[in-house]
């Protein structure tokens, strides 16, 4: 249940790479996101985020931006990447 305490925790931009980036597959995350995120997006080109949706803004404020979505988790699990 630890995730429930992390979910609203503010992010320190200097720790997560200073940049919010948009992957060329469309996903938004912090430049120094967790290894799970980076493994999912290996080889994708990331550029600094310039425009985001309201939903992404809410995700950011809720601390959900650098977590895998359920879909990403499921795909990683099926393809044998990091649990």
């Amino acid at each position: 249940m630890n995730w429930i305490y992390n979910i609203l925790k503010p992010v320190d931009p200097s720790e997560v790479g200073d940049y919010l980036v948009r992957c060329d597959c469309g996903r938004v995350y912090w430049l120094k996101a967790s290894d799970k995120i980076k493994k999912h997006h290996l080889g994708h080109v990331m550029k600094p985020l310039e425009q985001g949706s309201v939903f992404e803004f809410l995700q950011l404020k809720l601390g959900l931006i650098n977590r895998r979505t359920f879909g990403e988790w499921l795909r990683d699990k099926m393809e044998g990447r990091a649990e």
Binding site: L20, K38, K39, L42, H44
Partner: protein, 172 residues
């Protein structure tokens, strides 16, 4: 509905995530290469990057450069970020021990590592070397924005004095 959330003055950068199975750390500001044909057999990971000696075979073109490492990438299961486009603060300079001056605007290139060659184990970038030594392959994807002089070329690779200032990467 779209709204502007982040706007920075230096947005023209791009990065790519790579894995490192080279057996050593890929240090920040060091040039990172993609495994080319001659070294494919030693590539065991997905989207794997490494130094020129890891990735490029003897006397082959160092044009497989992706960009400069954006953070220390530890060996093993970890992934790391390589900057592939845009302004970068620093770059590792190749140890030459010759009086070479690289002017701003000149393209930088790595030495293809050749066993028993004077260029072996040189990981940094400079503006000379591969033109004559390695089949005439030209400059790489990094452009110097500041003068790189004798002191940089004479310093031991990895020492503070061996890093040049300000380059522009055009690896995309």
């Amino acid at each position: 509905m779209w709204m502007q959330t982040v706007n920075r003055s230096d947005t023209e950068r791009a990065w790519v995530a790579v894995t490192n199975h080279t057996g050593h750390t890929l240090t920040t500001h060091w040039p990172i290469y993609k495994y080319n044909t001659a070294k494919n057999a030693s590539s065991v990971g997905t989207n794997e990057g490494g130094l020129i000696a890891d990735c490029v075979g003897a006397k082959t073109a160092p044009g497989a450069m992706i960009g400069l490492s954006f953070e220390d990438i530890p060996n093993g299961a970890e992934t790391g970020i390589v900057q592939v486009y845009g302004y970068h603060e620093s770059v590792l300079v190749c140890k030459l021990d010759t009086n070479t001056t690289v002017r701003p605007g000149v393209g930088l290139v790595g030495f293809a590592s050749v066993a028993a060659d004077a260029a072996a184990a040189k990981s940094g970038l400079t503006s000379i070397g591969n033109i004559t030594a390695n089949d005439g392959y030209g400059f790489g994807v990094v452009t110097a924005l500041d003068t790189i002089g004798l002191a940089h070329h004479n310093a031991t690779q990895g020492a503070a004095a061996s890093y040049g200032d300000h380059v522009f990467i055009r690896g995309l």
